[in-house]
Amino acid sequence: MSEQNLHPAQQDQTEHHIVSPIIYIAVGAALLVLTATTVGVSFIDLGIFNPIVALAIAVIKAVLVVLFFMHVKYSTKLTKLTVIAGVFVFLGLISMTMADYISRAWGRW
């Protein structure tokens, strides 16, 4: 194919980025530390905050995995958008279903 007319598929390509093992080690260690933290926190009675803290830590861990192990930090906008779209619809399913269940208890009006 002609070199002038770049295939559009190539336009949003980034150069393939090789993540350094140091980052992997750091992230892996951070994940293990966070696991220990979340287990530790679960032994402290925080009342309503126990689930919140546990889920917050889980989200942080998931974000770390997605960004570094799954290379999203170094990926194209398209990949980032894909991840966001998935999370959006997932949260849509959960939140809108939950909204029905929770608001049923509010009574008629």
Partner: protein, 555 residues
């Protein structure tokens, strides 16, 4: 009809179907069954979905015959229940969902974006095999005695109160679901990554846009149905209780999860059809689609909003009032993009140069019937009128106007439009126009009386009904007979045309899409060399310039 036509066929005395094309490339059954070529897979799909369409159609015929009289005289109530269940399952999961995407989409999207094939040919083939496996399971279910849950599988009826083949049907739909996930995934990847040079997003034909929107729904919606069906199967086999009120589960949770897929599924079915209409209307009025961007974005808007309206199927089931408000409002919002599309298509005709070939007739039919179907959807989306009209024949008529009047019309428009590209041959024009008119009349006669029946309160899924509803049911059954003829005709003359049709040449309709700039039937690689898109979509002036250049160079 006007004698004026845009059809330009090559000189029939010298014209030949190109020796080398995707059909003749390889021979033998294996070369078809192991193919990676999107056009061959599309052909396989076309044959399979036509088969299932006529099974579903036969079931519909039996349903209509039974409803000719108020009593259960043709079949017993339980047989009737199996008939409408299998009709729903087959028509929805084995015809409507794969209809335009898996056949026309599969055939056209790579060509429209200027690629040699879909991004993942093997996954594409896998998707067809999954479809076939699912189809075999569905046929097994029918042969083994059928299933009578209704296609909606309402719990706890489907899990604890019926003794028919719910599990095999559930698994069949599960497998068919993955077939559609893989098709959708393949389309999204192809549209993002396989566009030819110069093919920017806003140069894509609208058919590609609408299939893209439908694919998003397939990829994100179908898995929820899959897990729901797994839970149904587990509920029946192990008795898990998540949907069983006796064990503390909640049948409404099933409704939520089921409709989270099954409402977007409606858009999965209709969006690709809308894409077909955009192509056809533009081509036969020789004019760029009015407000290209609005039509393109309205597809995406339907896809996005379409995810968040599912609970309007549950207004009378006791969901919270607040949820009713939110879902009703969102339903109203999702109706707007459809209205935009209708008016944009209508205005595409404005100052065009219109001809009335068969695809255009089907497209006109679509526009009229889809307007009715869409507007009656608003009746059901408004929470108040929904109370009276839901679960009656009104809703049956509504979704048949959208699915049959809309989608099937669009499918037939598309098949007639791209048939010359697919096979290299034309079909007889007069008889196909007749078929389009017959279909339109038959359709209206079948389904319009059902709106009145629904308003009267006749419930859906009734094998027997009060005698005062009979006269309208007789109209409906009579219409169904005409409709049946309307659907049989294309099968006959299209099959005939395979051998005897006139040679179509590359571009019989003088259309602008990239798919028309290659030979008919296309090469396995679609194009001799990768095309470069140097003009906007639906640029008829570009087409003219190019043709003049060709004439000049030949001359």
């Amino acid at each position: 009809m006007s004698a004026a036509t845009i059809v330009v066929l090559p000189d029939q005395s010298t014209a030949r179907i190109p020796k080398m094309n995707f059909i003749t490339r390889e021979n033998g059954l294996l070369s078809w069954l192991l193919t990676g070529d999107h056009k061959r897979i599309a052909t396989l799909y076309l044959i399979s979905i036509t088969f299932f369409f006529f099974i579903g159609g036969a079931l519909a015929g039996l349903i209509r015959l039974e409803l000719l009289t108020p009593q259960t005289d043709l079949v017993a109530a339980d047989t009737y229940n199996k008939l409408f269940t299998m009709h729903g399952v087959i028509m929805i999961f084995f015809f409507l969902v794969p209809s335009v995407p898996a056949t026309l989409g599969n055939f056209l999207i790579p060509m429209m974006v200027g690629a040699k094939d879909l991004a993942l040919p093997k996954v594409n083939l896998l998707s067809w095999y999954l479809y076939i496996i699912a189809g075999i399971m569905a046929i097994y279910t029918m042969a083994a005695g059928g299933v009578d849950t209704g296609w909606t599988f309402t719990t706890p009826l489907s899990t604890h109160y019926l003794n028919t083949h719910v599990i095999s049907t559930g698994l069949a739909i599960f497998v068919a679901g993955f077939s559609s996930i893989f098709t959708g995934l393949n389309f999204i990847v192809t549209i993002h990554k396989m566009r030819c040079p110069g093919m920017t997003w806003f140069r894509l034909p609208l058919f590609v846009w609408s299939n893209y929107a439908a694919s998003i729904l397939m990829v994100l919606g179908t898995p929820v149905l899959a897990i729901t069906l797994v839970l149904i199967v587990l509920e029946r086999t192990v008795g898990i209780g998540v949907f069983d009120p006796a064990k503390g589960g909640d049948p409404l949770l099933f409704q939520h999860l089921f409709w989270f897929y099954s409402h977007p599924a409606v858009y999965i079915m209709i969006l690709p059809g809308m894409g077909v209409i955009s192509e056809v209307v533009s081509t036969f009025s020789r004019k760029r689609v009015f407000g290209y961007t609005a039509v393109a974005f309205s597809s995406v808007a339907i896809a996005v909003f379409g995810f968040f309206v599912w609970a309007h199927h549950m207004f009378i089931m006791g969901i919270s009032n607040y949820a009713v408000l939110v879902f009703s409002l969102l339903t109203m919002l999702v109706a707007v993009p459809s209205a935009i599309k209708i008016f944009n298509w209508a205005f595409t005709l404005y100052k065009g140069s219109i001809t009335f070939e068969t695809p255009m007739l089907y497209a006109f039919g679509f526009m009229g019937l889809f307007t009715i179907g869409g507007m009656t959807g608003v009746f059901l989306g408004a929470s108040g009128t929904d109370i009276h009209l839901t679960e009656t024949y009104f809703i049956v008529a509504h979704f048949h106007f959208v699915m049959v009047g809309g989608m099937l019309m669009a499918f037939l428009a598309g098949i007639h439009f791209w048939w010359p590209k697919w096979t290299g041959r034309m079909y007889p024009e007069k008889i196909s126009q007749l078929a389009a008119v017959v279909t339109f009349i038959g359709f209206n006669l079948t389904f319009f009386p059902q709106f009145i029946l629904g308003t009267l309160g006749m419930p859906r899924r009734y094998a027997a009904y009060p005698p005062e509803f009979q006269i309208l049911n007789v109209f409906s059954t009579a219409g169904a007979t005409i409709l049946g003829i309307g659907y049989l005709l294309p099968v006959l003359y299209l099959t005939w045309s395979l051998k005897y049709g006139a040679i179509a040449g590359n571009n019989p309709w003088q259309a602008t899409g990239l798919e028309w700039q290659t030979q008919s039937p296309p090469l396995t690689e679609n194009f001799l060399e990768i095309p470069i898109m140097d003009h906007e979509a639906y640029d008829y002036e570009w087409l003219e310039r190019m043709q003049q250049k060709e004439v000049a160079s030949v001359g």
